[in-house]
């Protein structure tokens, strides 16, 4: 049995996914997290930050929230329930870094936490940077031509 056929059979045995329900929860939870992010950004603007200078502190605060909810084990529950609604926002990125940092601590600070901390977030950063490099070369070459 080749891989394609195995996957086809596995699909037939696997219970059907509640696609509509998953999509609804992803929408509600993802939207709610962005709403919190907007609240943080608006609060920073009121404190005198500009739209530009508020970006980094907003990211740091949302990462902090994601880290706290991960440390208490609540974020894993949220991910089970909301799927991409919890994984796609930056709080999910924080979860992807903090969860393995805790999970592999027993293997040591260097070979456990240190080595595994980017297990999930690493691919995102690697391919994000690769595509930014390619697009960056194009934009560099088009300087003056394309604002």
């Amino acid at each position: 049995m080749d891989k394609a056929e195995y996957q086809k059979r596995a699909r037939q045995v696997e219970p059907p996914r509640p696609v509509a329900r998953n999509a609804l929860f992803a929408f509600l939870v993802g939207g709610a997290i962005c709403l919190i992010g907007q609240g943080v950004q608006t609060a920073l603007l009121a404190l005198g930050y500009s739209t530009e200078t508020a970006k980094a502190p907003t990211a740091v605060f949302m990462v902090f929230l994601g880290a706290v909810f991960t440390a208490t084990g609540l974020y894993d529950q949220l991910t089970k329930f909301a799927g991409m609604g919890a994984s796609l926002p930056i709080t999910g990125f924080a979860n992807a870094v903090v969860a393995p940092a805790i999970e592999f601590k027993n293997e040591g600070a260097v070979m456990g936490t240190g080595a595994r901390i980017f297990q999930v977030a690493g691919p995102v950063i690697a391919f994000g940077l690769l595509s930014a490099f390619v697009v960056g070369v194009v934009r560099f070459a088009l300087q003056g031509v394309w604002p």
Binding site: K55, V63, A71, T91, I102, N106, T113, A132
Partner: protein, 116 residues
């Protein structure tokens, strides 16, 4: 109004990602990588910027917004840094979020017990 749009656009991006995952059976890791690459490309051609202006955190908090930050940070650095911006620019814009996650992760590993 910004709050409503942040909720709707941010929710819609998550909904699309969830639908893609359920309908194509791609792994979450592939979806997340795809989302950030898409953000870089859309940001590079100037399509993501209007969305970020309208939806605020609804566009910048989900992962495509992370890619958008990478490429806009890089493009903004080109006039100042020249070709070096191709290497340094993307990290300047997203470094705070990445470093925050690393620091909080390491700190959490000191104080939180691993679950069995």
């Amino acid at each position: 109004m910004t709050f409503l749009l942040a909720f709707l656009i941010g929710g819609a991006l998550c909904l699309i990602a969830q639908l893609v995952m359920d309908l194509t059976r791609l792994t979450p890791a592939h979806i997340l990588v795809g989302a950030v690459v898409l953000g870089v490309i859309l940001g590079g051609v100037g399509v993501y910027e209007p969305l970020a202006k309208v939806a605020g955190a609804g566009a910048t908090i989900p992962l495509p917004g992370f890619g958008y930050s990478m490429i806009t940070g890089l493009i903004q650095e080109i006039p100042k840094e020249g070709w070096v911006a191709i290497f340094s620019g993307a990290f300047k814009a997203t470094g705070a979020g990445i470093k925050a996650a690393l620091i909080f992760g390491i700190l959490a590993s000191f104080f939180v017990r691993a679950r069995a």
